[in-house]
């Protein structure tokens, strides 16, 4: 039985439907992230779990207990906000102790718990400072310690890293995962940064316009997107759309070229419009062997991304993104140069 269970949640604000048909089972200790574009309902779903919004319909249970209509302060669900939301008038220590104090935990026990939490987020020496004396990253650590101190049944994080610098963001991201694994705490993590979601999660929920598009582990979401939205939202994609051939294992592009893909689409008929999705890492530079799909085109853009160099190649009216692994000896093609790119039929993802 799932630990956290969301069943057919729906929430509307006036005439806007923020979330609907949202069902999700989260196992104890699992790290699930909600990924989706702005306004797709991630925060709204999270706020329903926290008890800040009441769903119009649907049910929320934690460990078998129905909490759908339980007030937020009774739920023991910890929350970390993008804006940190530390209490400005309290020291770091008192911020972390706030929830324990409300639980009427005896002072010595509370003190011990606070020390443990500050230790966990590596902020023990800043214990007596005030929030305004801390950096953004440190403030967010305090917020995490504060949420964890009450030993919540579920931890919710709503874009906790969005307000931070790239460097701090990576550091804190790893730390959140380390702590989550150490405490085995059931966690929901909202983000619109796909890299973050892919790196951290046990499972991801990709959302669009208030609905779930796909639920699955990062590798499955990335490699086997089930909808065009997921394919294009997660990772960079090139797409080629054409008419299905008679053999139903290839398509003809409007320009005349044929693209073979590894599977036979038995449930589609000849002439249907079909789209293949191509990840940049499967497209290689150069002339491919006969069984591979080869395109010739002009380099439209060169992006140096560090570990890879991304080329945008315009061929036949299509733009194909190809990543080449960087090394110091690499000769990077120039903009305007004519190049060939190729990819394996099996690497095509057809939707």
């Amino acid at each position: 039985m799932a630990y956290l269970q969301l069943t057919d949640l729906r929430k509307s604000f006036g005439s806007t439907v923020a979330v609907e048909h949202f069902s999700l089972d989260v196992a104890a200790g699992e790290f699930v992230s909600f990924l989706g574009p702005s306004g797709c309902g991630k925060t709204t779903t999270m706020r329903m779990i926290a008890g800040f919004e009441m769903p119009d319909t649907g049910r929320i249970t934690i460990d078998g207990e129905d909490i759908t209509h339980m007030p937020a302060n009774k739920r023991r669900v910890g929350m970390v906000f993008q804006s940190y939301a530390l209490f400005p008038h309290l020291s770091v220590r008192d911020n972390v102790a706030f929830g324990l104090d409300l639980m009427r935990m005896p002072k010595p026990d509370a003190r011990k718990r606070v020390d443990e939490m500050l230790d966990l987020v590596q902020l023990s020496i800043q214990a007596d400072r005030y929030p305004h004396q801390l950096s953004g990253g440190q403030q967010q650590r305090v917020a995490l310690a504060r949420a964890l101190a009450i030993q919540p049944r579920v931890l919710l994080l709503d874009e906790p890293l969005s307000a931070l610098d790239a460097k701090i963001r990576d550091e804190l991201r790893n730390e959140i995962r380390r702590i989550q694994l150490e405490l085995k705490i059931t966690t929901i993590y909202v983000t619109h940064d796909q890299e973050e979601a892919l790196a951290l999660s046990d499972r991801m929920v990709v959302m669009n316009a208030g609905r779930i598009e796909q639920i699955g582990p990062p590798a499955e979401i990335y490699n086997h997107p089930r909808t065009a939205f997921v394919a294009s939202f997660v990772g960079t994609q090139s797409t080629l759309t054409g008419a299905l051939t008679e053999s139903r294992d290839a398509l003809n592009l409007p320009g005349g070229q044929t693209v073979r893909f590894g599977t036979t689409l038995t449930h589609r008929s000849t002439g249907d419009s079909v789209t293949v999705h191509l990840r940049p890492e499967i497209i290689m530079l150069g002339e491919g062997a006969d069984e591979r799909n080869t395109f010739r085109g002009i380099v439209a853009q060169v992006m140096f991304l560090g570990s890879v160099v991304r080329l945008l190649v315009r061929a036949d009216g299509h733009t194909l993104a190809a990543d080449i692994l960087n090394n110091p000896a690499l000769r990077v093609p120039q903009i305007g140069e004519t190049v060939a790119v190729h990819f394996a039929a099996e690497a095509c993802h057809v939707l």
Partner: protein, 287 residues
């Protein structure tokens, strides 16, 4: 663009400024001068000692049928009465205005204009009309508040709360705008706080400066107010009544009292600035 002002316009600016300063200070200076002239042909603080003096035997604890009462010179007893009224008003208006404004900000933002309209009504309605209206309504049945001492005090406090509403509301409204009440509330709620706890332990401490400055204005009003308090307590036990009585009966003392109340008010203003500076920390939070 004209960046240099001509000597003429500069002279005019200075002249206007000087006039304003004179308008405000000349009466004060003449009052001060007058207050020092109680003793003939020489300057002295006699008027001040008269007002502030505590003659022997004038302070006395008395056991009466109504309990223990403290008798003291009128300057002190009336000041104490008005300070008490001020303190009660501060407590009462904070208790009413903070939760109301907070709730409107958080849950009923559409009612903000209504609240603002109500808050400026005491400005728009002449004080005497307010006073008579309050008296008419609450001293008659079904309220009949003036029948008991406590009820009368409640009416006074309620009246003062209305008189200072434009200031207190504005101050607290600005204070609430300055903090992210929505997220702070959510954070506190998720940590187990009920609504009363949220207001008492999270919102109020972060409104410290706003509440204190509202309080000091309330205080100043409570100490100087005459009309309402004189209707409610015709025995002239308030500081306002005392000032008025002095003005009727004495020559030099009222001038001294004017200076004393002026200094009291200034003390309060300085206190406001002191406290506001003490807590205006640079906010490191990200918007």
């Amino acid at each position: 663009m004209n960046t240099r002002t001509s000597p003429v316009s500069r002279f005019i600016s200075w002249a206007i400024l000087a006039l304003c300063v004179a308008y405000l200070t000349v009466p004060l200076i003449t009052q001060f001068d007058y207050s020092l002239r109680m003793r003939r042909n020489t300057l002295s603080f006699d008027a001040y000692s008269k007002v502030l003096a505590i003659p022997e035997g004038s302070v006395e604890l008395r056991q009466t049928t109504r309990g223990v009462t403290l008798k003291m010179p009128r300057f002190y007893s009336s000041l104490a009465f008005s300070v008490l009224a001020g303190v009660l008003t501060i407590a009462f208006s904070t208790l009413v205005i903070v939760p109301t404004t907070y709730w409107v900000h958080l849950r009923l933002p559409r009612l903000k204009p209504v609240l603002e309209f109500i808050s400026v009504l005491p400005f728009a309605i002449p004080g005497i009309v307010l006073t008579l209206g309050l008296l008419r309504t609450y001293s008659a049945p079904p309220f009949a508040l003036t029948n008991t001492e406590a009820g009368t005090m409640l009416m006074l406090v309620g009246g003062y709360t209305v008189f200072v509403l434009p200031y207190t509301f504005r101050s607290i409204d600005a204070g609430l705008r300055a903090i992210d009440i929505r997220t702070l509330t959510d954070a506190a709620r998720s940590l187990g706080a009920n609504w009363a706890t949220v207001i008492w332990r999270v919102i109020l401490p972060n409104l410290r400066v706003a509440v204190i400055s509202a309080s000091l204005i309330t205080f100043a009003v409570a100490i100087g107010e005459y009309a309402l308090v004189n209707f409610l307590f015709p025995d002239e036990r308030s500081f306002g009544s005392y000032l008025a009585a002095m003005g009727r009966n004495k020559i030099y003392e009222p001038a001294a009292l004017t200076i004393i109340s002026y200094l009291l008010t200034w003390g309060l203003v300085l206190l406001i600035q002191r406290i506001a500076r003490g807590t205006s920390q640079p906010s490191a939070s990200i918007r």
